[in-house]
């Protein structure tokens, strides 16, 4: 057991939450992007992205240690993929829009601003919690260095 392992655990979580924040920012920024890509000369709206998080287990050794009760089963967290939200695009009636179809509907991204704001607060709070854990680990190591002084 190395106590600096807890640094790595917390920093992996900070990285993951930051990436989550980046994805949320991208969703908010593209909430009205109707031309994320072109397919057959047709504009395709932006599709909302979500992150998939998984515990960061490091193979056989860590699993064996976990079974023997020596170490936690996982060492932090990782983002395994940035997935796309499959919900349909929202049609908005706006015949003057350049990307409107023959019936006057323009398809808007499937981004729900309310959802993004909630996710953003969740990511911020998790980030703060991990900072607190990191600071506690740091203070503990500093304290251990005082042994015998």
């Amino acid at each position: 057991m190395k106590i600096s392992d807890s640094f790595n655990i917390s920093s992996s979580a900070l990285t993951a939450q930051r990436l989550r924040m980046d994805v949320i920012s991208s969703n908010i920024a593209n909430a009205r992007t109707t031309r994320a890509s072109m397919e057959n000369g047709q504009a395709v709206p932006y599709r909302r992205k979500t992150v998939v998080m998984a515990p960061n287990s490091v193979g056989f050794g860590s699993t064996l240690d976990a079974v023997m009760g020596q170490k936690p089963a996982t060492q932090g967290v990782k983002i395994t993929q940035i997935a796309e939200d499959p919900t349909p695009f929202k049609p908005v009636y706006d015949p003057t829009h350049p990307d409107a179809d023959g019936e006057g509907y323009v398809y808007m991204p499937n981004v729900d601003l309310m959802k993004e704001m909630v996710d953003m607060i969740s990511a911020t709070r998790s980030y703060e919690a991990n900072i607190t854990a990191l600071n506690a680990s740091k203070a503990m190591i500093s304290k251990a260095l005082q042994i015998g002084k």
Partner: protein
């Protein structure tokens, strides 16, 4: 003579090790607060030590007259910290069971515990220094 390898020292050493492991486990729980299907882990040491000291199994204890005898019941040794996974509960819809409030309070408690162990160790070292230097 057991000046520095007394059982008190060994207990403190294992307690500090347990607090370090617990710090790692709690950091891991907090890191995985948003991970679906994650189950939190727990480190038990203090209750194990308490059981050891009180004789968790007082009805069954072998009386040793020789150092080569098998130890039956409490061995008088310092227990190792033990990690257990709590996979029976669920907090959220994603079957994660990390309660961030309880983790944060455990984190604060563990840090204070660790600090107090270090203080105690320093005090013991100081006492031994007094004993060896004679002042």
């Amino acid at each position: 003579m057991q000046l520095l390898n007394g059982v008190g020292f060994a207990r403190l050493e294992n307690a500090i090790q347990a607090a370090g492991t617990r710090q790692q486990v709690i950091a891991n729980n907090i890191a995985n607060v948003d991970t679906p299907y994650f189950k939190r882990s727990n480190v038990s040491f203090e209750t194990l030590l308490q059981n050891e000291l009180n004789g968790g199994m007082p009805t069954l204890r072998g009386y040793r007259t020789d150092s080569r005898h098998f130890i039956i019941g409490s061995s008088g040794k310092v227990p190792e910290p033990k990690i257990t996974v709590d996979d029976r509960t669920a907090m959220n819809n994603n079957l994660n069971n990390v309660d961030i409030d309880s983790e944060m309070s455990l984190l604060a408690e563990n840090k204070l515990r660790y600090d107090s162990y270090i203080e105690q160790l320093n005090y013991q070292i100081k006492m031994k220094r007094v004993a060896t230097e004679g002042r």
